[in-house]
C-alpha cells in the first residue's frame, strides 16, 4: 500500500495550467485544405485565413476566390463557393489513379498554386473484423465494459513504396479522437499482410464502424506526419521543436510569401461493418 501511495504521488507531481502570454501579432495567412479523391462527388476545397492565436473566432472563411483543379492530361475542374470557406466542384467528377493534379487559386488578385500531386493506385482496405477487450467502466469501477475496435488485415503491394492514411467513422461521423491523424508507410512492411489493431478507436455495440484506407503520395505522407507531430507532441521533452508545417502551396509571383495547408490527391478503399 505504501508503495502504491508513493507511485501515485510521483505521478501526480506534474501539473498543467492555462496561462495568458503576450503573443506576437498575427500574419493572417491563406490556409488551404484540399483533397481530391477517386470517389464520385463531394469534391471540396476549403479556403480560410489564419488568425491571431489568442483570437476567439475559429476560422475566417475566404469566400471570393477563384478555384480550379488541373490534371496533367489537360482536364480543368472549376469550383464555386458554398459556405464556411468550402468551395464545391461545379460538376460531379472523380480523380483517376496514376494521374497528377494540382490546385490553382486566385485570392486578392494573386495566384496560388500547389505542386503536382499524383493520385496513387489504391490499395484495398482488406478484411475488416471486430475485436474487443474488457475495461473498467469509468463511471462505475466495479463494472466491466466491452470496447470494440477495428482489426484490419491489409495486403501491401510488393516492391513499391506505399503510403497510407487511415480514417475512421463512427455512425458516419468522422472519428479522430484520440489520434487525429493516422498515417502509415510500408517501409517496414513492404509486400506483407499487415494486421492492424486499432485498439485506441473504441466502438460500442450497434455502432456502424467504417474504416477508410486512403492511399496517399509520399509528399502527402510527409505533410501529414509533420502536421501530426506539431499538434500532438509540442511542449513535451520528447517532442519535436515547434516548426512551421510546410505544405506544397506557393504564391506564383512571390515564393517567399507563405501559404499554409496542403493539396493532395488520394485514392480510397472503404469497409463498413455493424458492431454486434
Amino acid at each position: 500500500m505504501k508503495k502504491l501511495l508513493i507511485i501515485s504521488f510521483i505521478v501526480l507531481m506534474a501539473c498543467e495550467k492555462v496561462v495568458v502570454v503576450d503573443l506576437p501579432s498575427p500574419q493572417n495567412l491563406v490556409v488551404i485544405q484540399g483533397w481530391l479523391t477517386d470517389s464520385l462527388g463531394n469534391q471540396r476545397i476549403r479556403l480560410t485565413r489564419s488568425n491571431g492565436f489568442a483570437d476567439n473566432n475559429e476560422v475566417l472563411p475566404i469566400d471570393d476566390a477563384e478555384v480550379i483543379i488541373q490534371s496533367r492530361i489537360g482536364e480543368v475542374f472549376t469550383y464555386s463557393y458554398a459556405n464556411d470557406g468550402y468551395y464545391h466542384a461545379d460538376t460531379e467528377y472523380r480523380g483517376t489513379p496514376g494521374i497528377e493534379y494540382r490546385l490553382r487559386i486566385i485570392v486578392d488578385d494573386q495566384e496560388i498554386q500547389s505542386l503536382w500531386d499524383i493520385m496513387p493506385i489504391p490499395t484495398s482496405v482488406g478484411n475488416l473484423q471486430i475485436d474487443s477487450f474488457e475495461e473498467n467502466d469509468p463511471n462505475d469501477s466495479d463494472q466491466q465494459i466491452t470496447v470494440f475496435y477495428p482489426k484490419i488485415t491489409t495486403r501491401d503491394p510488393i516492391g513499391e513504396e506505399n503510403y497510407y492514411r487511415w480514417v475512421f467513422y463512427k455512425n458516419q461521423e468522422i472519428f479522430n479522437s484520440p489520434e487525429p491523424i493516422t498515417v502509415q508507410s510500408d517501409r517496414l512492411f513492404d509486400g506483407n499482410l499487415i494486421p492492424n489493431n486499432f485498439q485506441i478507436f473504441g466502438y460500442d455495440s450497434n455502432d456502424e464502424m467504417t474504416v477508410e484506407l486512403q492511399t496517399i503520395s509520399f509528399s502527402s505522407h510527409s505533410y501529414l506526419s509533420l502536421l501530426k507531430s506539431q499538434i500532438t507532441t509540442l511542449g513535451t521533452s520528447s517532442g519535436t521543436t515547434p516548426a512551421i508545417v510546410e505544405g506544397n502551396l506557393f504564391y506564383v509571383d512571390d515564393e517567399s510569401e507563405q501559404v499554409l495547408g496542403y493539396f493532395g490527391a488520394v485514392s480510397s478503399s472503404v469497409a463498413t461493418v455493424i458492431v454486434p
Binding site: 510521483i10 501539473c15 498543467e16 492565436f53 509533420l226 511542449g235 515547434p242
Partner: protein
C-alpha cells in the same frame, strides 16, 4: 669511478689520517698529500673553512665527508684526486599522496614548496613529481577535503616519498582550523575547472527525492546547465549535449542519464571525485568540443574491508571495498538499484499510457601495486534502464565499460599511463504490438588504446605527450520481427559504420617567475572505414533522395573518407601575487561524432553518427579570460571569467526531419555557425562551519540558421540569460548539519505562435520566428538536514559503525516552474486556443535517506 673501486690493499685511502681535531681545509689537504695521495685543487676556488675531524678516520671517509657536506665535489682521474667547488644539482622528489585511513590515492591535491611559487598537483593517480635544486625544503601537501601537512625534505638525491594525510571529518571537533587550505585554483595554469567531491559537503546537497547526484551538483556551478528538470544532458558554456566528453575512469560514457535525465549514471557511492573542464581542454583530451567531465571511481580501501551504503525513496546503493594485499592492492564493488517503478506522465501523449522505469548500476574496480614503479587498475561499469511504455513495449538501454590501465614510472621524472578500454552504449526495444511486432536495436562501441607520458624536465618545465586510437563501431539500427512466423514486419538493417579516430599530442608547461604557460598541439584524425555505401548527389542542389546520382560501395576496412584537424591549445597564468592570478586560454577542439536528435532534449533512442563525406566535424574555438582571487588564507575563492566560443559545423535538423531508420541522414541536416559568450562569477567559502558558494552566469548562446528566406542568429533552446545558483552547508552541532540551495534563472526560449488555423478539425499553431519568447523565470529552494548517528555507545565506548539520516525537501515553496508551454484547443470552448504551462514538479517533494558505513 667510485671510491670503493680503488684497490683496497695498501690503498693509501684506507690508512689512518695523520691529523685530527680542528683543522682548516687547505691544511688537511696538504697533510693528505704528505700521506702520498695525489690531491689536486685550486686554492682560489675552494673556501678554506675550518673542519673538525674525528680521530682514526680514513682519507676515504674524509673525502666522503667533504662531498656530503657540499664542501667540494670529488673526481678521480687515474691516481689523481681532483677537488672542485660544489655545483648544486637538480633532484626529484616524487611519490604518491594517500588517504591515511583507506590508503586511496588523492587526486588533484596541491604539493607546494613552502615560501616559493614552485609546486605541482597530484595527477589522476595521486602521483606527484617535483624536480628541485638540491637543498632542504618544506613541502606542503594540501587538498580541500583533507587536513594538509608539511614535510621537511633534504633533497640531495632522488627521493621517493609517499605521504598520507587525513580527511577532514567534522571541523567542529578541531580546536582550531590549522589545516592548510590549498590555492589550487590560483596555481593551476588552466582556467575554469569545477571540482566535486561527493564525500564532503557536496554529498549533502539537497536534490530530488534525496538522491545524491554529481551532475545535479555541477548544475549549481557557473556555465553548466540543463534545459529543465526532466531533460537529459547538460550544456556547458552554450555547447550541445553531445559536446561533453564524459569519462568514467578514462573510458567514454555515451549516455550519462538514468530516468529521463533526472539521475545520472554515476553511483555516488562509487564516485571519488569529478572534474569538469569547461574553459580550456588540455591537449591530452579530444573528441568533444565543449567540455570534459571526468568522473573517477574510488579505488577501494587498501587497509581494511568496509561496507557502506544508503537507502532512499528512489534507490538503494551499497559498496564493498577492501584490501587484496594489505596496503598494496584493493578491490571495490558497488551496486545501485531503483526501488520503485517510477513514472512521469507524458501529458500530451494521446494514448493515455504511462511510462514506467527502473534502473540499476554495477561498478567494479581493482588495483594492484606491482612495485613502486608499476601499478595496474581494472575498472568496470554496467548500467541499465528498463522502461515499459504502455502494455506492449519494453525498452532497455545502458552503458558498459571495461578499462585496464597500467601506470609505470620509467624514471622518477617520467610517468606513463597506458589504458585499453571497451565502452558500449546499447539500446533495445521490444514491441509486441501488431502490426509489426519487432525487436529494434542500436549500439555504439568503442575499442580504444591510449597512452600518455609526463616528463619533468626541470623545476620549471614539464612535458606531456602521447597518442590515442579509438575504433568506433556504430550500429545505427536494426529492426527484426519479434516472431519470424507471426509478424508482418520486415527485417531492416541500416548499414554499420566504422571509423578510426586517432590523435597524437604534446604539451609543455613552463614557468618563468610569475608566469606559467601551458601550450600544446593535438593532431586528430578520423578515417571512416568500409564496408559502406555513400550516395553521390547532384552538384549545386540540396541533398535529397531525388538528387542522388550515384551510389558508391566500399569494401571492408577500405578508407571511405579521411579528415585531419590541428587543434592548438594555449593557457597562460600570471600569478600577480599569492592571492591573485590572471589566466587566459585559447583552445580549438574538434568533434567527429554527433548525436542525432531533433527532440528538445535527447532521448535514449537517439543514435550517434560519425562524421562522413557530408557531415563535417564540428570545431570550436574558445577564448577565456579570468581573474582569480583568494581571501583569508584561501578560505574564500573568488573568480570571474569571460568567454567567447565560435562553433563551426554545428548540426541542426530540418523541420520535421525523419531521423528514424534513415539511410541518408545528410538529407535532413543543416550545418550552422553557432556562437556563445558569457560572464561567470563565482565565490566560494571552502572551510569552516559554514561552507558554500554563490554562482552567477550572464550568457548567450545562438546559432545562425536559415529561417523565413533569410539567415539570422536564433537563440539556442538552452539559452538562459541570467543564471544564479547558491548552495550552503552549515554544521549546526556535533550531530546536526543543514544544507540549502537556491537557484534562479531566466526562462529558456520558447517559440510562441503568431497564428492559429484549422486543418481538418485540428487546431494548428503557426510560428513565424523560432525562439521568439521565453518561459517565465525559474526559481527553486531546496533544504536538507543531516543527522549523524551516535558515535559513542551508552557505556562510553566508541561505536565502530557510522550512520546518518538525511531529510530533504525539494522545491520548498512549491513553485510551479514552467518546463514548457504547449498549445491546444480549449477543451471547454472549441475553436479557442490556449497556451498551457506545463510543470514537472508542481509541489514540494520531501524525502528521507538512510546511509551507513561499517
Amino acid at each position: 669511478m667510485g671510491l670503493s673501486s680503488l684497490q683496497a690493499q695498501q690503498d693509501p685511502l684506507d690508512q689512518k689520517l695523520s691529523f685530527w681535531g680542528e683543522i682548516t681545509l687547505f691544511d688537511a689537504l696538504d697533510s693528505l698529500r704528505t700521506q702520498g695521495l695525489n690531491i689536486a685543487y685550486s686554492a682560489d676556488k675552494l673556501t678554506n673553512q675550518a673542519l673538525d675531524i674525528d680521530r682514526g678516520t680514513t682519507p676515504r671517509k674524509f673525502l666522503d665527508y667533504l662531498k656530503e657536506n657540499l664542501i667540494a665535489d670529488i673526481t678521480f682521474s687515474g691516481s689523481q684526486i681532483i677537488l672542485s667547488p660544489h655545483i648544486p644539482q637538480n633532484y626529484t622528489v616524487h611519490g604518491v599522496l594517500k588517504n591515511v585511513e583507506s590508503g586511496e590515492h588523492i587526486i588533484g591535491a596541491t604539493v607546494q614548496v613552502a615560501g616559493t611559487n614552485l609546486g605541482t598537483t597530484t595527477n589522476g593517480y595521486g602521483y606527484y613529481s617535483i624536480t628541485l635544486r638540491e637543498g632542504t625544503y618544506n613541502l606542503e601537501y594540501s587538498h580541500i577535503g583533507y587536513r594538509g601537512t608539511t614535510t621537511e625534505i633534504s633533497l640531495y638525491r632522488t627521493t621517493y616519498l609517499d605521504v598520507s594525510i587525513a580527511p577532514k571529518i567534522t571541523e567542529l571537533k578541531e580546536v582550531e582550523v590549522l589545516s592548510l587550505s590549498d590555492d589550487v585554483n590560483l596555481s593551476e595554469t588552466i582556467p575554469s575547472i569545477n571540482r566535486i567531491t561527493i564525500s564532503e559537503a557536496d554529498g549533502q546537497i539537497p536534490y530530488f527525492l534525496g538522491e545524491v547526484d554529481v551532475i545535479q551538483n555541477a548544475l549549481l556551478k557557473p556555465g553548466i546547465r540543463a534545459i529543465g528538470e526532466d531533460a537529459s544532458g547538460i550544456h556547458v558554456r552554450g555547447g550541445g549535449v553531445d559536446q561533453n566528453l564524459t569519462l568514467l575512469d578514462e573510458a567514454t560514457i555515451y549516455n550519462p542519464n538514468h530516468f529521463y535525465g533526472l539521475i545520472s549514471v554515476f553511483n555516488p557511492e562509487a564516485v571519488n571525485n569529478v572534474r569538469i573542464m569547461k574553459g580550456y581542454i588540455p591537449p591530452s583530451y579530444g573528441g568533444r568540443t565543449s567540455s570534459v567531465i571526468e568522473v573517477r571511481q574510488k579505488e577501494g580501501n587498501a587497509n581494511k574491508t568496509s561496507v557502506s551504503g544508503g537507502i532512499g525513496i528512489l534507490s538503494a546503493r551499497a559498496l564493498l571495498e577492501g584490501p587484496i594485499h594489505e596496503g598494496k592492492s584493493s578491490y571495490l564493488i558497488s551496486a545501485r538499484q531503483s526501488l520503485l517503478n517510477l513514472s512521469i506522465d507524458d501529458f500530451a501523449s494521446t494514448s493515455v499510457q504511462r511510462n514506467r522505469i527502473r534502473f540499476q548500476d554495477l561498478n567494479l574496480k581493482l588495483n594492484f601495486k606491482y612495485s613502486q614503479a608499476s601499478r595496474y587498475y581494472l575498472s568496470g561499469y554496467i548500467g541499465n534502464d528498463r522502461n515499459i511504455a504502455g502494455l506492449n513495449s519494453t525498452r532497455n538501454w545502458g552503458n558498459r565499460m571495461l578499462n585496464f590501465r597500467w601506470n609505470y614510472l620509467f624514471t622518477p621524472r617520467l610517468f606513463s599511463n597506458i589504458s585499453a578500454f571497451v565502452s558500449e552504449y546499447n539500446y533495445k526495444i521490444e514491441s509486441t504490438e501488431e502490426p509489426g511486432a519487432f525487436i529494434g536495436r542500436s549500439k555504439i562501441a568503442d575499442y580504444s588504446l591510449k597512452t600518455s607520458f609526463t616528463y619533468v624536465l626541470n623545476p620549471n618545465n614539464e612535458l606531456t605527450f602521447g597518442w590515442s586510437a579509438v575504433y568506433h563501431r556504430l550500429l545505427p539500427g536494426s529492426r527484426e520481427p519479434l516472431d519470424q512466423n507471426a509478424s508482418s514486419t520486415n527485417s531492416v538493417q541500416l548499414e554499420n559504420e566504422q571509423g578510426l579516430e586517432s590523435a597524437a599530442y604534446f604539451s609543455q608547461e613552463t614557468r618563468k617567475d610569475n608566469l606559467t604557460l601551458n601550450y600544446g598541439l593535438r593532431l586528430s584524425s578520423l578515417h571512416t572505414l568500409g564496408s559502406g555505401t555513400v550516395f553521390d548527389y547532384q552538384e549545386g542542389l540540396p541533398f535529397a533522395d531525388s538528387t542522388i546520382i550515384d551510389t558508391l560501395r566500399f569494401d571492408n576496412l577500405e578508407v571511405i573518407d579521411k579528415k585531419y584537424i590541428l587543434e592548438p591549445r594555449i593557457a597562460i597564468n600570471w600569478r600577480v601575487n599569492n592571492k591573485t592570478a590572471v589566466k587566459a586560454a585559447f583552445s580549438r577542439t574538434a568533434q567527429y561524432l554527433h548525436l542525432i536528435s531533433n527532440t528538445i532534449s535527447p532521448e535514449p533512442t537517439d543514435i550517434w553518427k560519425l562524421s562522413d563525406r557530408y557531415i563535417p566535424p564540428t570545431t570550436t574555438n574558445q577564448y577565456t579570460l579570468g581573474l582569480y582571487k583568494n581571501l583569508k588564507d584561501n578560505t574564500w575563492e573568488l573568480s570571474s571569467e569571460i568567454y567567447f566560443k565560435d562553433i563551426s559545423n554545428n548540426i541542426q535538423y530540418r523541420n520535421g526531419a525523419d531521423l528514424v531508420f534513415n539511410e541518408n541522414i545528410e538529407t535532413e541536416l543543416i550545418l550552422s555557425q553557432a556562437r556563445a559568450y558569457g560572464l561567470e562569477l563565482f565565490a566560494r567559502k571552502k572551510t569552516g562551519r559554514l561552507k558554500g558558494w554563490i554562482s552567477y552566469t550572464l550568457s548567450r548562446a545562438e546559432s545562425r540558421i536559415p529561417e523565413n528566406n533569410s539567415e539570422r542568429f536564433v537563440l539556442e533552446n538552452h539559452d538562459k540569460t541570467h543564471d544564479f545558483a547558491t548552495s550552503w552547508n552549515m554544521q549546526i552541532s556535533r550531530r546536526w548539519s543543514a544544507s540549502t540551495n537556491f537557484v534562479f534563472n531566466t526562462g529558456i526560449p520558447v517559440t510562441l505562435p503568431t497564428d492559429k488555423y484549422v486543418f481538418e478539425n485540428n487546431l494548428v499553431p503557426h510560428f513565424e520566428f523560432r525562439n521568439n519568447a521565453r518561459l517565465p523565470n525559474y526559481h527553486r529552494l531546496d533544504l536538507s538536514v543531516k543527522w549523524d548517528g551516535r558515535e559513542v555507545k551508552k557505556k562510553g565506548k566508541t561505536r565502530k559503525n557510522k550512520d546518518y539520516w538525511i531529510f530533504t525537501i525539494y522545491n520548498v515553496y512549491a513553485r510551479q516552474n514552467a518546463y514548457s508551454y504547449f498549445f491546444r484547443e480549449s477543451p471547454i470552448d472549441p475553436g479557442t486556443a490556449q497556451v498551457v504551462k506545463y510543470s514537472i514538479f508542481g509541489t514540494i517533494i520531501p524525502a528521507i535517506t538512510y546511509n551507513f558505513k561499517f
